[in-house]
Symmetry: C2
Amino acid sequence: MAAGDTRKQIIDAADDLFYGLGFSQTSFADIAAAVNISRGNFYYHFKTKDEILEAVIDKRLADRETLLSRWDETAARPEDRIACFIRIVIANQTKIMAYGCPVGTLTTELSKLDHPAKDKANRIMALFRDWLVRQFEVLGTGALAKDHALHVLGWSQGVATLAQAFKDEAYVQREVDSILAWLDGVRSAAQAAG
Amino acid sequence: MAAGDTRKQIIDAADDLFYGLGFSQTSFADIAAAVNISRGNFYYHFKTKDEILEAVIDKRLADRETLLSRWDETAARPEDRIACFIRIVIANQTKIMAYGCPVGTLTTELSKLDHPAKDKANRIMALFRDWLVRQFEVLGTGALAKDHALHVLGWSQGVATLAQAFKDEAYVQREVDSILAWLDGVRSAAQAAG
DNA sequence: TGGCTAATAGGTCAATTGTCCTAGTCGGGC
DNA sequence: GCCCGACTAGGACAATTGACCTATTAGCCA
């Protein structure tokens, strides 16, 4: 097996396990078992557990950048792109009900651990924020773009947390409908002002 | 020192540590050091770590029940009571920016651990939800009371998560203003209909 | 004072953790 | 065929964990 393959497999397995169990609760043994390699072999690819974490965060950053770029391409209007973001809580509903939001739960955990990589993890959150700011700017909300962006981002975190706690699919759907209606109000207000 | 005292001190220290570090990251040694007793003495008061967790959750449940009862007494109108709930994200802003929401982060962590006490932890979340439902019912929102309650509860979770990630006080204040305006809209609509 | 029980201290235990080392295998270039 | 570097396996290591035990003290009651 080529080195790149094993390394990628380790990162993928760690990504899943960090999401499902949390970072500190995932052991080297867990990852090694998932990839089916010996624990010792691990040390060849990653010197420390923190190194794996950094690689996982890098991968998540790249994945999200790809996702946002795709939305930029496939959805022409900014309101449609924002709607894509809103609807991921439905697309990923099953996983969110089981493990919460992968971005939110990681930033929360690393923050509590006061882990050196917490700032890097926050960058994933900031990536979504900045992308949303751009969409609202294109939508024509002017100085309110940042406020609206944080509002939508915070909304997604709240929905994910309650979805995990109560496992209520209807609640998620209602919240999506509700924020889409809010988004439409923001759009029409911006277009009336512009 | 009386037995009740030491036990209470252990629970208080564990409460703080579980909030600041997380449950699984807090060790017996951490709690013992905080209370200034020997590790061995621990076993006399609590047989297992899970037993401490249950005691902490019970304490949090009791604390929140007291808090909600106080709001029931001091605030006459339901909209004022709901506003009390909304404003705790400002009252506890410093701690929330450091550690997130004590209720949300615990339920998320225990859910990932698939811990036996996760349902009990969820009861704190449910306590707030049911209280909010009652307030919205008194407010006269009829069948929408449950939807509104979950909306406010999810809002608080989202604000706490982003407050911790971005440490943006102005964001928190804006969100509070915004949801208070929403609450006022709900109130006037309910009173117009009633 | 003597005795009993609640409470505490300190240490042991096996298990698990992240880290690290060494011996070995494999495959392509000379 | 040989060699060298990439890769892997398996285990050693100290540290930490939750759990558990025993000896000792403190406080109260008779």
